[in-house]
Amino acid sequence: MSLATTESVAEIKARNKQLIDEVLKVYPEKTAKRRAKHLNVHEAGKSDCGVKSNLKSIPGVMTIRGCAYAGSKGVVWGPIKDMIHISHGPVGCGQYSWAARRNYYIGTTGIDTFVTMQFTSDFQEKDIVFGGDKKLAKIIDEIQELFPLNHGITIQSECPIGLIGDDIEAVSKVKSKEYDGKTIVPVRCEGFRGVSQSLGHHIANDAVRDWIFDKVNPEAKPAFESTPYDVAIIGDYNIGGDAWSSRILLEEMGLRVIAQWSGDGSLAELEATPKAKLNVLHCYRSMNYISRHMEEKFGIPWCEYNFFGPSKIAESLRKIASFFDDKIKEGAERVIAKYQPLMDAVIAKYRPRLEGKTVMLFVGGLRPRHVIGAYEDLGMEVVGTGYEFGHNDDYQRTAQHYVKDGTLIYDDVTGYEFERFVEKIQPDLVGSGIKEKYVFQKMGVPFRQMHSWDYSGPYHGYDGFAIFARDMDMAINSPIWKKTKAPWKDAPRPSLMAAE
């Protein structure tokens, strides 16, 4: 089906380069110059993908990116379930991000757990004019009265906070003292800071360091006895239960997971993490900062892993085990062996239906590279990928470990570029976000949301891979794609029927 499969690598490279030249023509000269640096064709053997990244988005081009608030409240802090996260400022930011990220958790919502709630200071004009600090102080009092089982509070700044000069740090300190040292964390994640969600992750990480780690009493009685096998899962937001289908594997190999950051996480887990023997890091982009900090300050090593698809899972389990003794190394082999029949069955069922299919991705965090192995386990090929808010270290990892020669790379892609690329390359599947989903489906291109797993998941771990494979088959081989053209017009594109 796809054009790519019939072409040689040289032809693909030439085609992709020509495509880039074509899309750049639409821009005014200054913009074309800037965008040219973000688009490239990967050359095998190069240490990165040959694109600039983590630079300002260009006004008016329809970037897909979000903001620092989205990175802090939406990604890092929001899933911490026993704390109340105040969207501090006008109502919109908290409203649009309310329960939208599918960070699964167990708890009694509204009583001891608060993830799928929208707490906001709902700023009015008078708050902008006179400042919102008094209101914030009162909000904290009201939270204490109405939600007495909360374990802590964070203040997630929206744009106006930094512009009107509010002192949320002072309010936090005063209120923390008033409530017996309660954890109250001011976060300076105003949406205008930085160039994307990415700075919000960093700011959120720093807030954990400054307002949680630095306030833990080293003399306090430990909540649990440490073991040599204690690890923390860092950078898994438990979307559709991802962290759970990961945790189960770590525990089956003999490790003990003492904290989840931050999906289904709790304040106690954040506080206990410095006791871990190893931090295992899934989303490098959003949580490398705190991992590095724990390495420097507490001497905890960290290890990146990838739990998408059996090849990468096995590789990762062995890599994690290499930090421990033989018992854990044997445990890793035992886990790999245990799930081998399931993986064989999944691949036997779905690979024949997906073999040779091509995919184009555009996602955030770790996914533009991490899911490539899972597609390859199913015989599929990723022909284009890019990061919404990646940095050069992401593109280095992508180039060195994941993408093939000739892959089209697009950083902070614009709506226009992405449409043109897909139109010309005609992949069998596009994996991106909600804003892109319907654009490509209208074009008749199968699509999966790769942020929310299109309301499915988990996709992590062995259990998740079965769902991933089923979902990709369901998207690509849905009978509906045969019907996008009326029979009295052009012939429909051929495709298999979905397995279930």
Binding site: P28, T31, S57, I58, P59, G60, V61, M62, T63, I64, G66, A68, Y69, G92, C93, Q95, Y96, W98, A99, A100, I106, G110, I111, D112, M117, S121, F123, Q124, E125, I128, L146, L149, C159, P160, L163, G191, R193, G194, A223, F224, G240, G241, I248, V257, S266, E269, K338, K349, G415, I434, K435, V439, F440, K442, M443, S456, Y462, A466, A469, T484
Partner: protein, 519 residues
């Protein structure tokens, strides 16, 4: 191992397996520092009490689970209702990602909108350069016929002047001098998405009617007998606007729908992505000044727009999201009076059919108590319909409703014996509603998707009517206006009532004597 290649288990089955349940239980007791379950239970019960309600209603600063969004969302909703128009929101870019996601999640459609991507330097120096570059890029890339500008709170706090900025951008050649760039300041810290709708629509009409920001002569009104129609911010815009067009056509009325986004939020899947589809043509938007009258379906979405239009000599009429028999009667009679056209026979028949359906089913709705929340006009329209059905809209709550709205609601309650024990709650949120549902229970709740948390916590069955509806598909394609729309609302309510009766009468040998085949 629970997962299975033959029958792949989804999240809702997978995690109920014993391995996962054990794992999660261990996680909780060992690492989460959980509260004593008895204490959790005590607080859970306490949060249901009148005492808690009193504290909850005494809140002055904290908002929990509000049922409103911010102004620019409404502005984007308006902008895409004009032919070939791209909304351009001046300020931080994350906001635009949010509006697009929000609209796409409701309509299951693409939602195109650009941002001027202001960052820290723009916060210091102002966003003029972002406007200059942004307009040039948008114009060249997406070839819109019009770019409609609104603002995020960042641009408002630093005081960017859209009029001056757009003028400068034109001077710098970002877009041609005569190109249409209407604008509206839409601060998120004033009002809600319905305010943004109002401001944006007024901004566009002002642009076309009052001399395009001083660059063209003001239009001189020459009345042409047409009627302008404004729907307001409406999650059912696709079904509703099409229904309204049908009604106008049945009555032979010449009309202009202003901000007609019914096509752009319902494009076909046929191999082509339409960034723009349908919409009010720019010519029609300008010529709308010549209309005889303008009708707003939602008073609180047009509080500034309608007086602006009235000042241009139109007769204006505002409704409150009319649903049901009397409200539709009034709408049609107003149309008829304004245009001199009789109400079409076909509509009279539709009216009779709606009355017929209500008569057939009213026994199941009569006397039932409802809680409603949503935008102020929607709440009014639904409450009025329930009163017609002999039901009691006991709690009517609107986070973006004000005191005037509450007074209007109280007036409505006073007009019907079924409104006797009903109350309006302006400016309250869904955490207030939670207390209301626990302390003064009702039979059914009407609201948007977020009502599912109230349904779960209080056991009050939720009928999904409102915006956003994320977790049910395609309801926006069906009208709730006109007699046919009233029929849709009636069926939606009845389906839930019957489903609940069946659900509560299906235990064999215990309750299933009432599990009736004929209802």
């Amino acid at each position: 191992m629970t997962q299975n290649a033959e029958h792949v288990l989804d999240h809702f089955e997978l995690f109920r397996g014993p391995e996962y349940q054990q794992m999660l239980a261990n996680k909780k007791t060992l690492f989460e520092n959980p509260h004593d379950p008895a204490e959790v239970e005590r607080i859970r019960e306490w949060a249901k009490t009148p005492e808690y309600r009193e504290k909850n209603f005494a809140r002055e600063a904290l908002t929990v689970n509000p049922a409103k969004a911010c102004q620019p969302l409404g502005a984007v909703f308006v902008a895409v209702g004009f032919e070939g128009t791209l909304p351009f929101v001046h300020g931080s870019q994350g906001c635009v990602a949010y509006y697009r996601s929000h609209l796409s999640r409701h309509f299951k459609e693409p939602s195109s909108c650009v941002s001027s991507s202001m960052t820290e330097d723009a916060a210091v120096f102002g966003g003029l350069n972002n406007m200059i570059d942004g307009l040039a890029n948008t114009y060249n890339m997406y070839k819109p016929k019009m770019i409609a500008v609104s603002t995020t709170c960042m641009a408002e706090v630093i005081g960017d002047d859209l009029n001056a900025f757009i003028k400068t951008a034109k001077e710098k050649g970002s877009v041609p001098a005569e190109y249409d760039v209407p604008f509206a300041h839409t601060p998120a810290f004033v009002g809600s998405h319905v305010t943004g709708y109002d401001n944006a629509l007024k901004g566009i009409l002002e642009h076309f009617w009052d001399g395009k920001a001083g660059t063209a002569p003001k239009l001189e009104r020459k009345e042409n007998g047409k009627v302008n129609f404004i729907g307001g911010f409406d999650g059912y815009t696709v079904g509703n606007i099409r229904e309204i067009k049908r009604i106008f056509e049945l009555m032979g009325i010449e009309y202009t729908i202003l901000a007609d986004n019914s096509d752009v939020f319902d494009t076909p899947t046929d191999g082509e992505f339409r960034m723009y589809d349908g919409g009010t043509t720019l010519e029609d938007a300008a010529n709308a000044i010549h209309a005889k009258a303008t009708i707003s379906m939602q008073q609180y979405c047009t509080e500034k727009t309608l007086p602006f239009i009235e000042n241009h000599g139109h007769e204006v009429a505002a409704f409150n999201h009319p649903v049901g028999v009397s409200a539709t009667d009034e709408f049609l009679m107003t149309l008829s009076r304004i245009t001199g056209k009789p109400i079409a026979k076909a509509l009279e028949q539709e009216r009779g059919r709606l009355v017929d359906a209500m008569a057939d089913s009213s026994a199941h709705i009569h006397g039932k108590k409802f809680a409603i929340y949503g935008d102020p006009d929607l709440c009014y329209g639904l409450a009025a319909f329930l009163l017609e059905l002999g039901a009691e809209p006991t709690h009517v709550l609107s986070t973006n409703g004000n005191k005037a709205w509450a007074e209007k609601m109280e007036g409505l309650f006073a007009s019907s014996p079924f409104g006797k024990n009903c109350h309006a709650y302006p400016g309250k949120d869904l955490w207030h509603m939670r207390s209301l549902l626990f302390t003064e229970p009702v039979d059914f709740l009407i609201g948007n998707t977020y009502g599912k948390y109230l349904e779960r916590d209080t056991g009050t069955p939720l009928i999904r009517i409102g915006f956003p509806v994320f977790d049910r598909h395609h309801h926006h394609r069906y009208p709730v206006w006109g007699y046919q729309g009233g029929m849709n609302v009636l069926v939606k309510i009845l389906d839930k009532i019957f489903d609940e009766i069946d659900k509560n009468t299906n235990v064999p040998a215990k309750t299933d004597y009432s599990f009736d085949i004929i209802r």
